[in-house]
């Protein structure tokens, strides 16, 4: 209109505009549209309920109760998942085993994220020779296949922690060892991501501004830059839980992980290959539970990754 100020013009145009979505809304919308991710989330909740809620129906003693007369019996009304080589009920063991497997997965990732973020942040922020040294170290660790390292460390440190009593459960100290060594051998990937993030973010103006106002380095790292790197950390951390669960399963399967009688889904499969023909229920049930858990986590992680990806803007109807 003639003589209308710019602000007026913009106001008129804005009246007709459709509501723009905030980044948070956009993210949640994208996640929800990712049907697999939602399915994965639901599945995870079910599995968690199974493992932790199931302990309301059975005691840990039930899980470890051996009855050699009923060893290796097929699924029946009394034992819906059958019994193992020394007569323990597999269903109950999967419940308690699930608690340990999930716990290990989560706790190992906590260790991993702590290490990865610390090393990546320091390397990325300070740069120079610190970065060089830390990165060489990271790469060296990266190049040693994780499973081998885990096996060696599990073998030799597995007995160094005594049994623990926590939340009313008694479990083998090897659980703690496993958590620590999985964390110790998985942080490298995250460290690289965090470092890359820090390298690019530290050049941005808000960091410069923080410097000029005299903010301390650690403050800048943890209060300014880190919150901006949260998204890839969350995605990577989520997917790492799956890897941690798998890692525990692998070494327990090979007999070097968590020691019985404490059950984990992995160690329930130990030696199962000797009974492939005679007692498939030994490995089918715990195996399936592992697959379902890892699958759900992968779905959720995939959904998260799409949700935080700024490039995915166009819907494909």
């Amino acid at each position: 209109m003639i003589g209308t100020a710019e602000s007026e013009v913009i106001k008129i145009q804005e009246e007709f505009k459709t509501e723009a979505l905030t980044p948070g809304q956009l993210m949640r919308m994208r996640f929800r549209r990712h049907k697999m991710a939602v399915f994965g989330l639901v599945m995870l909740v079910v599995l968690i309920l199974y493992s932790f809620g199931g302990s309301l129906f059975f005691t840990e003693a039930d899980a470890n109760f051996t009855n050699t007369k009923e060893r290796l019996s097929a699924p029946s009304a009394a034992h819906p998942f059958g019994t193992d080589t020394i007569g323990r009920d597999i269903l109950i063991r999967t419940i308690y085993g699930g608690q340990i497997s999930l716990l290990i997965g989560l706790a190992a990732v906590v260790v991993e994220v702590f290490l990865g973020v610390l090393i990546g942040a320091i390397a990325g922020y300070y740069g120079g020779w610190i970065d060089g040294l830390l990165m060489r170290f990271t790469e060296a660790m990266f190049n040693i296949p994780q499973l081998f390292l885990l096996l060696v460390m599990a073998k030799f440190f597995g007995r160094s922690v005594p049994d623990i009593n926590l939340f009313g459960r008694q479990f083998s100290g090897s659980v703690v060892v496993i958590i620590v060594i999985i964390g110790l051998t998985s942080w490298m990937y995250l460290a690289r991501i965090v470092r890359a993030n820090f390298l690019s973010l530290k050049e941005r103006e808000f960091v410069l501004a923080a410097h000029t106002t005299g903010t301390s380095n650690s403050s800048i790292i943890f209060q300014h830059i880190l919150p901006n790197s949260i998204a890839p950390i969350i995605v990577s951390g989520t997917l790492s839980v799956a890897n941690a669960i798998l890692a525990e399963a692998y070494i327990s399967f090979l007999g070097l992980g968590v020691k019985p009688p404490t059950a984990t889904w992995g160690n329930m499969l130990e030696g199962a290959y000797n009974y492939v023909e005679t007692a498939p229920w030994l490995w089918i049930f715990p195996g399936l539970l592992i697959v379902l858990t890892v699958l759900s986590i992968n779905f959720v992680g995939d959904g998260l990754r799409d949700a935080v990806d700024p490039h995915a803007l166009i819907d494909a109807g």
């Binding site: 003639i2 710019e6 013009v9 145009q13 007709f16 166009i314 109807g317």
Partner: protein
């Protein structure tokens, strides 16, 4: 002269997360053989989309051509099979794109990329294609072509890449060359060279050229006829001289006024167009330019003006006569 390409009421929409974008709204225009049509407008006005529609390169999903016809040599391009369209692309209509860096395949040689259209459309052998490619490289002004055809895009400079892009589009001597902002990503001196090159090639090969740009200066140099687009509509269409001497649509006026000129007295602020360009999703009643228009009257906010002839060869879509400031009598 008969037009070689005619668009009739073409409509293109895109389904996005934020809503349905009306990229092209009932656009009609034609291009005459051997002449240059310039299409001007801001980013997002639909100029590139209308050209991609001609080539049927609109990604579906999320894009959809919802209406219209495009006549080329007697055929409606929107109605023929994809196979037939593939024959037309490259051999009868060629296209040059904006960013020479990303428009060329980084892992294939320049020679291969220029030659393959000839091998596919004209049945050339590898050797024949290479020979012709060397000629083409000479034609577009790239020195040492025998060596260059074995090189890769990253070994070329920006300007050279665009020349190679032009050579690629012209390899089969098409009837129309569509150039989608080919100089926007280049610096000014290179820009001038490419413009000169295009003018020369057009004279030599006699093809029609459609040149899309937001740069009015370049359009003035090249075009015979110009259309101005806004919010997916054609708002003005005229011969190049008529447009620049007698701009009749408020948007065109504002565009021309916002150009810094050599003879401006320093000290004056540059005129800008208030407000922001439409997002294509919001549907407002009336003319899409009305909120930002300094000539708008009440009628403009109620009804969208159709594109009409106002002078011998001059069309505009506006209710108002910019010379008098009052509504035009029809």
């Amino acid at each position: 002269m008969d037009p070689i390409l005619t668009l009739e009421n073409v409509e293109v929409k895109f389904q996005t997360l934020a809503g349905m974008v009306n990229a092209v709204n009932g656009v009609s225009y034609s291009v005459e053989a051997g002449k240059t049509l310039g299409i001007v407008g801001e980013s997002g006005c639909g100029k590139s989309v209308s050209m991609l529609t001609v080539m049927r390169l609109i990604p579906d999903p999320p894009g959809k051509i919802t209406a219209g016809k495009i006549f080329f040599k007697g055929q409606d391009l929107l109605a023929i099979s994809e196979e037939k369209m593939e024959h037309i692309r490259g051999s009868e209509i060629g296209m040059v794109f904006q960013d020479p860096m990303t428009s060329l395949n980084p892992v294939l040689t320049i020679g291969r990329q220029i030659g393959e259209a000839m091998m596919v459309h004209n049945g050339f052998s590898r050797e024949q294609a290479d020979a012709r490619t060397i000629e083409l490289l000479n034609m577009v002004g790239i020195g040492n072509p025998e060596q260059r055809i074995k090189e890769y895009p990253h070994q070329f400079s920006g300007g050279m890449r665009q020349r190679a892009g032009i050579a690629m589009a012209l390899a089969c001597v098409p009837d129309i060359l569509i150039a989608d902002e080919p100089t926007t990503a280049l610096d000014v001196t290179i820009q001038a060279q490419i413009v000169e090159l295009t003018k020369r090639l057009q004279k030599e090969l006699g093809m029609a050229v459609i040149w899309i740009s937001h740069d009015l200066g370049v359009i003035a140099e090249l075009a015979d006829r110009v259309i101005v687009m806004y919010a997916g509509y054609v708002v003005e269409e005229a011969d190049v001289f008529a447009l620049y001497e007698n701009p009749s649509h408020p948007y065109t006026l504002s565009l021309l006024k916002s150009l810094p000129r050599v003879d401006d007295s320093g000290g004056e602020r540059l005129t800008t167009i208030p407000g922001f360009p439409p997002d294509g999703i919001t549907v407002m009643p009336g003319c899409p330019f009305a909120p930002r228009c300094s000539f708008a009257v009440e009628h403009c906010q109620k009804e969208n003006p159709p594109l009409e002839l106002v002078d011998h060869d001059h069309k505009i879509a506006c209710w108002v006569d910019v010379k008098t400031g009052t509504e035009r009598s029809l």
